[in-house]
């Protein structure tokens, strides 16, 4: 299975990793050596190598969330050298490859920090606040069965495309981690936009936007002050145009709805 890939290089790194046993324990940065790292490895495979060594030495491997390792489940994420998901644009941590680092680099790895994301262990945080926001209205209220034929309502291709652009959000939390206010506005707006753009979602658009924004506040996320850091770090390149659309929906809802 191994390759003698001529392009592949081996590099050595110094890792500075946030270690914290639990939410109420004190955390600190620990230093590790990552040696003989192939530049074809993904960032998480690099941590795997460090962890395997730690286990064999009787140490405590670094806890980090990950699952699909192809950039779609939204499970992984850490702040690498000050940037959510690391230095590559539009890339989740699992899809970041070591060819973007150089021999001798020091890499600082920290969890996504936010008041709303309680730390679980090391780089693992609790993002259930996102689920709570979706539960507040991130759906179309239809039961299974009894719906019209899929082609009964044509949707202009452009609208469907815009809805899909917004729907790509993977719920990783990078937007929150990057925002100076730890706002979840990009996350909320992606769902509000997707459903507001489609005729199926219009019926509940006013209550949805109000309830979801209210829940965002309840979950202790901050507010949006147009810093645009979220858009810059979003691994799915979700545009802040969605935030503008949320704001329009919010104002419309405020004017037209009884829900305050």
């Amino acid at each position: 299975m191994s390759t003698g890939d001529g392009m592949e290089k081996k590099i050595n790194l110094t890792l500075k990793v946030w270690r914290q046993k639990g939410p109420d324990k004190k955390g600190k940065i620990e230093t590790y050596r990552a040696e003989d790292i192939s530049t074809d490895m993904s960032f998480l495979e690099m941590i795997d190598v460090v962890n395997e060594k730690l286990v064999l030495e009787g140490g405590d491997p670094i806890s980090f969330d990950h699952d699909c390792r192809e950039g779609i489940c939204g499970m992984c994420g850490a702040v690498v050298n000050g940037r959510a998901h690391g230095p590559s644009k539009g890339t989740t941590l699992c899809q970041l490859h070591m060819r973007h680092f150089s021999d001798g680099d020091t890499v600082v790895i920290e969890p996504f920090r936010s008041r709303a994301f309680k730390l679980v262990k090391d780089l693992v945080v609790d993002r259930s606040a996102f689920d709570k926001i979706i539960q507040a209205g991130g759906y179309v209220s239809v039961n299974t069965g009894g719906v019209p034929d899929a082609n009964a309502i044509p949707i202009p291709q452009e609208k469907a495309d815009l809805a899909m652009d917004a729907a790509q959000c993977i719920g990783c939390g990078a937007c929150v981690a990057s925002c100076p206010n730890a706002s979840a506005m990009l996350f909320v707006s992606a769902k509000v936009s997707q459903l507001a753009l489609l005729p199926q979602g219009r019926a509940e658009a006013p209550t949805r936007v109000i309830n979801m924004v209210k829940e965002m506040d309840n979950q202790l996320f901050g507010n949006c002050s147009n810093e645009r850091e979220c858009e810059a770090e979003c691994p799915k390149s979700i545009s802040i145009v969605n935030i503008a659309r949320l704001n329009r929906e919010f104002i419309k809802a405020g004017l037209l709805s009884n829900e305050k």
Binding site: D5, Q95, V120, T144, P154
Partner: protein
């Protein structure tokens, strides 16, 4: 044991209607008295949880990730099939049924597959109503594309992220029921045992992954929607946490495991590079709509693909299978790629890759069109390989992707344990020996939205169930068994990590029980796995303690089950002395190197019953009869 599939009588077109009428109903006021456990929140689990809660049942839903939105259905790329015939190209329920049975190489149960085709259309309606942003034509109607094993365009898609969009649809329906307090959601819970009482499935024991506590939950019925076991190969396109443990615990409690040797090796994945690799990445089969698969005619040709002239390229799928071309079913495409590489015509550094080339499609349609269709896949390819597929041919190679085998279920999706239902990839029923592209999403949602809501009602209405609490002795004995297994793992303190064992198991499975198998190899595999299992018990090293967030311990438990399961898989492959679909035994092939079935002796489902640790499992057979399709040698020429 007599396996009774409980298939209703009558013509195939009306079986499901007839059955739905005959199933007992639970009156609306009584539904809230029943509690149902659903394990897994992929397409099958999330759609079942939502639909059952909407009907009024009390639902407890469990997942291993931090949110139900992250289940591995999310990674499905290409699309979902339905017999809508929106393209006016000759599709019908009967054709989808026929393609699926034939694609599965005549090893699936006709009645289940027909029902799947019947409900396929309502799935699309349901998803659109939820706000799933499927691709559309300029006129605003839904777009379709083609997938392998079909000559019609019946696949609906949302760019290269169809699984994500369908899962988020089901997750939104589930979230709505959570908000209505009809579903109680338990995240970061790992199911470690199934609990039986009076011979019926009545609950589960889980490990709370945050604090390591062992927790018990009781119910009137248990639904497993815990996915497939593709990670038995270590390297696969499955997510890292995808595992067989939940299914395997049910198997150990008496649920038969059916056709474990039917695994799908997907033809279009990014080739392996390096020993450190942790997983493989799929490139959607939809790419085969426009990409052309080829290898250099001359073995060992090291020129860059763009420097090899047309006359020196072998478009082997188009040449060998002119009517299906690049869109032959997955098992056929994979086996042919292996064959080319075994002949020395493979490309790339390892020689284990073939080209998938978009040069002609880009010339024909323009880069914009190709980008709109496959942009995210091309980006992903470039991120991983550092090659630009708009400029040079992609390299692909088959990888473990899906498992057709799973827990045996009857027509009601109930396993051989009463009250234990199994949905989606975790069951065995619809795909035979090979699944067609875009059919996994269809099956997961069919089971969850449109089948289990009916059949579970029939069970609950017709079964006497005593009240049960988690203080019951059966819960206590399950808990202590689970705890003792954990203690053993933590105290072994050997010299090899669980991951290292997993990697070795994967190599054994891939080499001897992968795309091509033979009896000698399978016997070698069996003894190798047994040795490895023995070594695991004595030499595994697991870090940390039980009462904490401990990913190393989670993984060790899963690897231990994969080791036992690997043995079962090889046993099954050895018992099936024929080739069919993804199970290709080199001793049974046609002159053209296609799988040669033995319908006289092996037209059955192989369902394995556990007999206890160290004892050989017992094989039960469910005969398959085909009344609506004619058994034939599959031909895609």
């Amino acid at each position: 044991m007599q396996l009774d599939a409980n298939v209703p009588g009558g013509p195939i077109e009306s079986k499901w209607d007839k059955h739905r009428f005959e199933l007992k109903l639970v009156n609306p006021a009584n539904k809230r008295k029943f509690t149902i456990i659903v394990v897994g929140t992929g397409l099958a689990g999330a759609s079942a949880s939502a639909s059952l809660a909407e009907l009024g049942y009390q639902v407890k839903t469990f997942c291993i990730q931090d949110s139900p939105r992250r289940a591995h259905s999310i990674a499905a790329q290409g699309g979902i099939n339905a017999a809508k015939n929106y393209q006016n190209d000759g599709d019908s329920i009967r054709r989808l049924f026929y393609d699926t049975v034939k694609g599965g190489d005549f090893r699936s149960r006709e009645a289940n597959v027909y029902r799947l085709a019947q409900v396929s259309n309502t799935i699309i309606d349901q998803c659109v109503a939820q706000g799933v942003p499927f691709a559309r034509e300029y006129g605003g109607l839904l777009a379709n594309r083609s997938f392998g094993g079909a000559q019609v365009s019946r696949t609906f898609y949302a760019r290269g992220q169809t699984g994500q969009q369908l899962l988020l649809g089901a997750y939104s329906a589930l979230s709505r029921q959570v908000a209505l307090k009809k579903v109680q959601l338990y995240t970061r819970r790992d199911m470690l045992d199934l609990v039986m009482a009076d011979g019926k499935a009545r609950g589960i024991v889980v490990r709370n992954l945050i604090n390591g506590e062992i927790e018990s939950y009781s119910a009137d019925a248990v639904i497993l929607a815990t996915g497939g076991y593709g990670n038995v190969f270590y390297l696969s396109t499955n997510a890292m946490a995808s595992n067989v443990s939940a299914s395997f615990s049910a198997y150990k409690k008496g649920a038969c495991f059916a056709n474990p040797c039917f695994t799908q090796i997907h033809p279009t994945c990014i080739p392996v590079h390096g020993d450190y690799q942790s997983k493989l990445t799929l490139m959607s089969e939809s790419l085969r709509n426009d990409g052309r698969v080829w290898v250099p005619k001359k073995p060992g040709d090291k020129r860059k693909p763009e420097d090899i002239p047309e006359s020196e390229r072998d478009y082997y799928l188009e040449n060998k299978y002119p009517s299906f071309g690049n869109l032959v079913p997955r098992d056929v495409a994979s086996r042919n790629a292996k064959e080319q590489c075994d002949q020395g015509k493979g490309v790339g550094e390892t020689g284990y890759a073939v080209y998938l080339d978009f040069k002609d499609a880009i010339k024909r349609d323009g880069q914009d069109v190709i980008m709109r269709k496959y942009g995210n896949l091309f980006d992903m390819y470039q991120r991983i390989t550092d090659d630009d597929p708009y400029k040079t041919a992609m390299m692909i190679y088959p990888a473990s992707h899906y498992t057709m085998g799973g827990l045996w279920v009857d027509y009601n999706l109930m396993s051989t344990i009463e009250g234990l239902f199994v949905l989606g990839e975790a069951n065995f029923s619809d795909h035979g020996a090979n699944r067609l592209g875009a059919s996994a999403l269809m099956q997961g949602l069919a089971d969850g939205y449109f089948i289990i809501p009916y059949t579970i009602g029939g069970y609950l209405a017709g079964t006497k169930l005593n009240a049960i609490s988690t203080d019951h002795a059966d819960f206590k004995s399950s808990e202590s068994a689970v705890k003792s297994k954990i203690r053993t793992l933590l105290s072994t303190n050997g010299k090899r990590t669980a991951n290292d064992f997993h990697r070795e198991l994967g190599t054994i499975m891939w080499d001897y029980c992968g795309m091509a198998r033979n009896n000698d190899g399978l016997k070698i595999a069996l003894s190798k796995i047994q040795n490895l299992k023995g070594e695991f018990v004595e030499n595994v090293k697991v870090s940390g303690i039980d009462k904490e967030f401990n990913q190393n311990l989670e993984n060790a438990g899963r690897v231990s089950d994969f080791l036992s399961f690997g043995e079962l898989m090889v046993e099954d492959a050895l018992a099936r002395q024929e080739s069919c679909g993804g199970h290709f035994n080199e001793g049974f092939q046609t002159e053209e190197n296609e799988a040669r079935r033995d319908d006289e002796n092996f037209s059955h489902v192989a369902a394995w019953a556990y007999q206890g640790e160290g004892k050989p499992p017992v094989l039960h057979k469910e005969p398959l009869s085909f009344e609506n399709v004619k058994l034939s040698q599959r031909s895609y020429k």
